[in-house]
């Protein structure tokens, strides 16, 4: 019998090693797997490479992981935003390596890793400094750059609902990077707001089929209990 649900966050993160490449889902505050990011701080793995759209904001979640000195390198599209104080101080102090990747290229490199595509060409960055050092090639009269797949050891994902088989659905704009990161890691750990009874998720609406997921931990959603002011504050953290 398949039962991918584990009892707690510690069990969900068991065995993650120093030096791991870790994907962190979410976009802004939506779909961020905060509980398992916090759990990773407790878990203690060091010298991590983080793949995420943002480099954390405020002092919690990803920012706290950075602040705890666990991250050597970060690969993201939008590191610097209104609340990214931890990132900025570490980066300026030379304590964090950074790879900037356009958001669409980041998404496609992650998708490629999950799909067994080692490399692809894209028109994005051609004629900009981000194409420096990249192999370029013309297709149909247009120059493109070569980009390689970006796989990970671990993906930390937030889903709206998951079943014991690992099937996941997301909520609204919470699908974002979560659904593709779930496909691209050797160990995909899902923080699910709800656990669905086996067989109750609509086969037509499942976004992440269970074969991509190794572990699920139930972490109820708290966003709706937050007051409007808090939500609005979060909204101020720019893209």
């Amino acid at each position: 019998m398949i039962n991918k649900q584990v009892r707690n966050v510690a069990e969900a993160l068991d065995g993650i090693r120093d030096g791991s490449v870790v994907m962190v889902g979410g976009f802004g505050s939506v779909g961020q797997p905060d509980a398992i990011i916090e759990g990773l701080i407790e878990q203690g793995a060091r010298d991590l490479t983080i793949i995420a759209n943002n480099a954390g904001a405020g002092r919690a979640g990803l920012a706290r992981l950075l602040d705890a000195g666990r991250v050597r390198r970060i690969i993201c599209s939008y590191p610097r935003s209104a609340g990214s104080v931890v990132f900025e101080s570490l980066f300026q102090a030379g304590k964090l390596e950074l790879e900037i990747v356009p958001q669409g290229t980041l998404a496609e490199r992650i998708r490629a890793a999950g799909a067994g595509i080692p490399a692809f060409y894209t028109p994005t960055t051609v004629g900009t400094v981000l194409a420096n050092g990249k192999e370029q090639r013309e297709f149909n009269g247009r120059v493109h750059v070569l980009e390689e797949a970006l796989p990970a050891d671990v993906a930390l994902v937030q889903a709206w609902s998951a079943d014991r088989f690992g099937n996941c659905i997301y909520r609204e704009s919470g699908r974002n990077f979560n659904a593709i990161m779930a496909t691209a890691a050797r160990l995909t750990v899902v923080q699910a707001c709800h656990i669905a009874e086996a067989g109750t998720l609509d086969p037509e609406a499942i976004v992440t089929p269970g074969l991509f997921v190794q572990r699920i931990v139930h972490v109820p959603d708290t966003s709706f209990s937050e007051n409007t002011e808090t939500s609005a504050d979060k909204g101020k953290q720019a893209a």
């Binding site: 976009f27 939008y78 610097r80 950074l98 356009p102 992650i110 004629g127 400094v129």
Partner: protein, 222 residues
């Protein structure tokens, strides 16, 4: 500019001006800044689908404060609403739409735009090692049309419409139209062609506020 006999458009007026030109049935992505404001002024008489990088097609204006859905934000991290016919998807599918040429239009803010249609809107210095590029480069190369919405000059009065961009490019040769607080300007054959100006503004004044030669359509006022 207060001493002049013309009034620059407010940001909201710029958004409304842009909204007028968006065709019924278009699929449109709005960048951060002035472009975002367009979402709040689109007429209900047109079916315009707004795309957001984080996986929404068909979002609507900002919600009333008491109807905020914490799971529904746009790429600017602002709370939005949903319109009939909307759909959700993941980031790879979202950028497949962008890169694949399926958006009729994206509207971007800019630090600089050149008369060749080059746009610089992501990094203010070649020495900035941690600029935030986001989805701008994909939008700039992938959309069928790229319009820019920007103040005509910086706060210090430095022209943002220039002969050659000095900031790092987002993409070369992609911009086809610029909406500023002073004028609407087409970019054609490496030339800035002024379509309209705000009332009272002169051609000379506009040229003085611009870093490249302007050409004027006959219909451009003044």
């Amino acid at each position: 500019m207060s001493s002049e006999a013309f009034t620059p458009l407010s940001r909201r007026e710029m958004a409304a001006r842009i909204a007028e030109d968006i065709h019924d049935g278009w699929y449109v992505n709005l960048g951060i800044g002035i472009p975002t404001l367009v979402a709040d002024v689109l007429p209900d008489s047109k079916d315009i689908f707004l795309h957001s990088e984080n996986g929404i097609l068909g979002f609507g204006p900002a919600p009333d404060p008491e109807h905020i859905d914490p799971w529904l934000i746009n790429a600017g991290k602002q709370h939005v609403t949903l319109r009939p016919g909307a759909s959700f998807f993941h980031h790879a599918d979202s950028f497949a739409m962008i890169r694949g040429g399926h958006l009729d239009l994206c509207i971007l803010g800019a630090f600089e735009v050149s008369s060749a249609g080059d746009i610089a809107n992501w990094s203010t210095s070649a020495h900035d090692a941690a600029p935030a590029v986001g989805g701008a480069m994909d939008l700039a190369v992938g959309s069928k049309r790229v319009w820019v919405a920007t103040e005509h000059t910086t706060r210090e009065g430095t022209p943002k419409l220039v002969e050659h961009c000095t900031y790092p490019l987002t993409a070369p040769g992609v911009v086809s139209r610029i909406y500023t607080n002073l004028a609407v300007i087409d970019v054609e054959d490496s030339r800035f062609i002024v379509r309209t100006m705000v009332p009272g503004l002169t051609r000379e004044k506009l040229q003085n506020l611009t870093g490249a030669k302007l050409y004027f359509m006959e219909s451009a006022n003044a």
